[in-house]
Subunit: 457 residues, 2 copies
Amino acid sequence: LTTKPPSGTRDFLPADIRRREHVVGVVRRVYEQYGYEPLETPAFENIETLLGKYGEEGNKLIFKILRRGEHEASGHADLALRYDLTVPLARVVAQYQNELPKFFKRYQIQPVWRADRPARGRFREFYQCDIDAIGSTSPMVEVELLSAVSDVLETLGFHDFRVLLNHRRVLAGLLQTSGIPGHQHETALVALDKLDKIGESGVTSELATRGVQEFAASRLVETLKKILASGPADQASATNRSRLGTLGTIFASTPYEAAAQELDEIVQMIASTPAANRVFVEPFLARGLSYYTGAIMEIAVPDLAGSLGGGGRYDNLIGMFLGRDVPACGFSLGLERIIVVMTERGMFPGVVANGAADVMISLWSADSRADALTLAGELRRGGLRVDVYPEADKLGKQFKYASSRGFGYVTVVGDDERRAGTVTIKDMTTGHQDSVARALAADHIRQRMTNAREDAR
Amino acid sequence: LTTKPPSGTRDFLPADIRRREHVVGVVRRVYEQYGYEPLETPAFENIETLLGKYGEEGNKLIFKILRRGEHEASGHADLALRYDLTVPLARVVAQYQNELPKFFKRYQIQPVWRADRPARGRFREFYQCDIDAIGSTSPMVEVELLSAVSDVLETLGFHDFRVLLNHRRVLAGLLQTSGIPGHQHETALVALDKLDKIGESGVTSELATRGVQEFAASRLVETLKKILASGPADQASATNRSRLGTLGTIFASTPYEAAAQELDEIVQMIASTPAANRVFVEPFLARGLSYYTGAIMEIAVPDLAGSLGGGGRYDNLIGMFLGRDVPACGFSLGLERIIVVMTERGMFPGVVANGAADVMISLWSADSRADALTLAGELRRGGLRVDVYPEADKLGKQFKYASSRGFGYVTVVGDDERRAGTVTIKDMTTGHQDSVARALAADHIRQRMTNAREDAR
């Protein structure tokens, strides 16, 4: 019987959970500050809810659950594990339309499952942290989303991220005005999305491989070069002004003018938020998911190949469940990647590394068990995290155990201490021992903990 | 396309999550005070890990996941959804034996899935909150577990729960000394467990139906009557003393003496913990799961037919994964049942009912969008939860919306206010309006919120 977790999944030991809880705590607090409300949906959905929402490749990556009871042998699957948090949200919006507010803003922090081939940093079970705003087409929605996401990253200690911004209709316009016909847009976008990885010549040849005519491919790449060349790439406002100016010229009097204008509005409003100087218009950003209809965005940091998160506007997805379209826009932060980068950069505050308890009650003899439990209760009521050594044993062995666990203090109550109403408190960092009146023990330890923290600064 | 969640599962809207987070917050805080550390395992396990651990009935209730890729059509399942948190823990202890401390105490709060027939209060997806202590046979482990669970319930506001306590070996002794042979113990326990529901005559006839000889069945029921009759059932210490005394007499010089002695030790030590006066020795308590080997326990409240949680010692389960036995004892709190009882009793503090934001920024005109975003940022930095109305609209409509959402305050910044550097703040509860300097707006709202809370007391 193997004891490893299933391929592509992980067990999270205490230190892993503490790191994740630190990040999730910040995410939750900031999203609440922005008026997003918590939502959770079941781990599995009826299989029809998920199939056909993520493209052909996505369908294959959905974990399917066997129908129960006498049907089990038939191999028929009627349920499937959640693949993302967006499709369940669309279902929820359709189901509870009369209970939810007109502008529904929710955050959702739950695992999703994908039957991907496991690889370094690619898991079959991973957490997503999503925010979505339902019910408005106003570009303020995009601005508030990006502001909240930037606030989260800043609060976590990221000061070097960029928000890449584009628009599905701008992309469509660039392809169309380059002479690429509509039916080739999807395949062309896959090539275009790689511009920052394989360069102009790489994109040109991949476009050819995908059947795009040579003149159209080179026109597209030329146009992109023109847009990207304009403005110094390290200053958001100057870069965006000139890139949007170039886009405006290209799209003048075409149906794509409005999309460029929308990007312009977003970029202008961003200046009034914590995301100011973070957002860069990137005309090659495509993003995979097919349901996006408007602005699309992605977070990049220098030391990570993939993105820390991404999102966009999807005004038609809810309509697939509801029968009428409801505007929506969302952003998903990749929790695992954030934790990977924070770990590599040493960004987790000391508290994450703390032991499981502040104090351990040593056990002198079986007779003193009741007294050990009483002392534990006193210290817990005094605000401390307290572990009790469960078996009477040699004191040296108990001290060694406490050290190995990172417990800061150990109490000893022998016969003398019991008679005198005192407790001996050993500081496991310094080795210092104090004899203290029982009633003052919790205060004494808390005071020493405070002093130690201040000395460490 | 149906928009309901799958049968037996639920969507958790914001108010549901807030209630759950309140409970989970208390559970986590108290368990950390007792030195338990967080652990999480994947939603699914290799199917062999789960099969055969929960009895034949349990096997049928396990959700099975189809093997991916070309195998999908074969109907072969190689993964299965977590059925409880104990078997995954046993696997984890075996896998990480060299990394985990000698005495490993963990808490785990995650959903589990069972393909049960859905019914009122019975779900296919529900949360368990487990604590387990691995590595010691000391009865202090049971005492600390029960102390922690009692602390959780007291902190949540439960003051009328009872902890029912029994021992698998005491049960075995009662059956054996009544003349029921070992191979009938399992079926006899099923009948015995119903004593509080179907009474003595019910148990006697069910024992007969299950093939237990009449003389043995009636001896068992007589013995139980004798034990239960001793001592006033509403005073824990007197009840336990006399019940344990009777047990001691019955088991004198039999192999079951040690088990009764163990219960006695637990009951004596409990007096030094927050679970004092809560614990009642109940000789008919059997508990379903077959892996228990020692003490077993359950939480009862008067207004719930089932239990709020249960647990026990299982010294052999980890051995199934590790090849050598490791002592273990655990307790599982039923989160949904706790929430049900707390909701029915009105035990959730007011904060759970709060709106999604403290303040809403109204939007005067498209021109003032940037200013609205700036004000939102100022108030958020001032510690408030702030929503921004996303579209310029009639002010009356925006006020109405804010009221319907339960937002306490709405800001209005018109042309006059902008020129004067002020903001008008409307208190949505009283209708009162104030004009305040922008820099003081956050302080002003926080002050009014504090006053309103104090008035409400």
